[in-house]
Amino acid sequence: MKVRLLDIAHARSGDKGDTANVGLIALKPEWYAVLSQHVTLDRVVEHFRGVINGGVERFELPNLSALNFLLHGALDGGGTLSLKTDAQGKVYSTALLRLVLDIPDAEARGLGLPEFRGA
């Protein structure tokens, strides 16, 4: 079953130099397992390929039902050097929420995940 992050998580992002961070938080505590198992480092690297220039780091925060991602080289130099509209990485959060996961049907139904029927 296809599941879009926007439908199972919320997020906030910010900056530290040329790095954007995205904190990804499950909408329900029981959905954190979906984030921790399926929103892998490789998946996020692939998602942002061509959008950021550096690597990605991933941290787990089960206590907050959250993951934290550091997206390096994401801000066109960052701070005052950046020419981007989003020089401070404020909306990388919603860019991550576009990610669509493929979840085994039984797992998705068992957790009551909403199915994504878009493109």
């Binding site: 910010g14 530290k16 904190g23 941290f59 907050l64 020419l83 989003d86 860019a95």
Partner: protein, 457 residues
């Protein structure tokens, strides 16, 4: 049985430019013991340094004087204490301006202002480099000597200790320069509860309380994605308050009757904001572990935060250095339906070709099409911007040569008459050339930074 002592710290300013009325609302709409005001972003110090060079009585966050005037009654008559990093590069002048304002309002002698100095390292850079402190850029590893001649400000992020000292000396207003944002909240808790300098878990709790409220309403419903439509009355949003107890647990809340929301999701979003490695949130006072934080709903607009763990602080302080890094300008035009994106893309091709014909090559040039790809790039999908009612063509350049950047700014407006059709949105005129003052984060040994606390009235 007596009820445990509760200390209320209110956040009234998330950055310089935040709501002018929030500080007054925080001290008038309900009980608070301390008002914490955070004015400094990473590049603010360089702006203040430039102001001080023009006028030796300037160089602090001027908004703070108005904020103090708006809360003066609460400070003088209700015993509310104010802690602010409004001092910038001139905390003494900031304190003098507050005292002058208070005198004019008939409150002379009612304020005891703690002034904390010692964070400003600008005049000591050469001495530090000469004695082996390379001040290497934490991101690139380069030594500061590479940009030494372009440095305009250098300040160590100092911790809670000097603020605690000022409070112990009886200050009811504490003005610091470049302290960490989180120390402004943690210091009054250390002072009130007598937390020792090695009670790592409690200090970490104070830091995390500070992290939650340092961005003002961003933890109480502002900029909250979670169920955002249902967050009511942001026009009257309540700024956050921490109600702390001596054991290091605290509740995040806001005044009754205010708008916005304090909930586990709103606090969670703020906790992950600007987070690096969550296991090691490094501050001058303690290394806090965000993976230890437990949140629990505790009634309407109340979230209880507990079980926080901290580890010993490092022997370094972070230094915020600002240096001149060339010039930039950003211009834009708006193209309308039909074929808005295609017209904007044609304008870009024409402009770039003209720049090449003029012999203008820049260190960096960036184009965005607002309405199609500016915020999410290719993630917006192949159809993004197609058939859009309008698309903004936005182009910026950066270069060490100011003349080249100025010449670029003259090439935008002509496109209105000599480029693709159905174009508007140029009323703002030629783009402004800005000098770039960039940020250079570094570390320095704690032992080289001596803070000084003076209480004046």
């Amino acid at each position: 049985m007596s009820t445990p002592k509760i200390v209320r710290v209110a956040g009234g300013q998330g950055f310089w430019g935040d709501s002018l009325d929030a500080p007054r609302q925080q001290v008038t709409r309900g009980p608070v013991d301390y008002l914490m005001l955070d004015y400094l972003a990473e590049v603010t110090m360089s702006i203040l340094q430039k102001q001080k060079e023009r006028d030796p009585n300037m160089g602090y966050a001027r908004d703070f004087i108005g904020a103090m005037e708006s809360v003066l009654d609460a400070v003088v008559n209700k015993g509310v204490k104010v802690i602010a990093n409004a001092g910038g590069v001139n905390p003494e002048a900031c304190a003098a301006a507050v005292l002058e304002m208070a005198a004019a309002k008939g409150a002379a002698g009612k304020l005891k202002i703690g002034v904390i100095t010692g964070d400003n390292l600008l005049s000591r850079i050469d001495e530090l480099i000469a004695s082996g402190h390379e001040l290497r850029n934490m991101d690139t590893g380069e030594p500061l000597s590479v940009v030494r001649d372009r440095v305009v400000a250098a300040n160590a992020y100092i911790g809670s200790t000097p603020i605690v000292e000022a409070l112990a000396k009886g200050a009811n207003v504490v003005i610091v320069g470049r302290s960490t944002d989180t120390a402004l909240t943690m210091a009054p808790l250390r002072h009130e509860f007598g937390w020792g300098a090695e009670e790592w878990d409690k200090l970490a709790a104070g830091i995390i309380a500070g992290h939650i409220i340092e961005c003002g309403a961003q933890c109480s419903g502002g900029n909250c994605l979670h169920d955002w439509r249902s967050i009511e009355h942001l026009e009257d949003v309540g700024y956050p308050i921490v109600e702390a107890t001596a054991d290091g647990t605290f509740v995040v809340t806001k005044h009754a009757g205010t708008g916005g929301r304090v909930s586990v999701p709103t606090v969670s979003e703020q906790l992950v904001y600007e987070m690096g490695d969550p296991h090691s949130y490094i501050t001058p006072d303690v290394v806090a572990d965000f993976s230890s934080i437990r949140l629990a709903a505790d009634g309407e607009n109340r979230v209880r935060v507990h079980s926080i763990v901290g580890r010993p602080a490092t022997d370094k302080l972070k230094v915020s250095i600002a240096y001149r890094a060339g010039y930039k300008a950003v211009g834009s035009l708006v193209y309308s339906w039909p074929d808005a994106l295609e017209k904007a893309q044609a304008a870009e091709r024409i402009l770039r070709e003209r720049l090449i014909r003029l012999g203008l090559h820049f260190e960096h040039i960036l184009t965005e099409f607002v309405g199609a790809n500016a915020t999410h790039g290719r993630l917006a999908g192949p159809d993004a911007g197609k058939d859009a009612p309008e698309v903004q063509f936005r182009i910026g350049v950066r270069d060490a040569d100011k003349k080249k950047v100025e010449r670029f700014t003259r090439e935008i407006a002509p496109l209105v008459l000599n480029g693709p059709p159905s174009v508007t949105g140029f009323a703002g005129g030629r783009p402004k050339v800005e000098e770039i003052v960039a940020y250079w984060p570094a570390l320095v040994d704690k032992s080289v930074v001596q803070t000084h606390v003076e209480v004046i009235s």
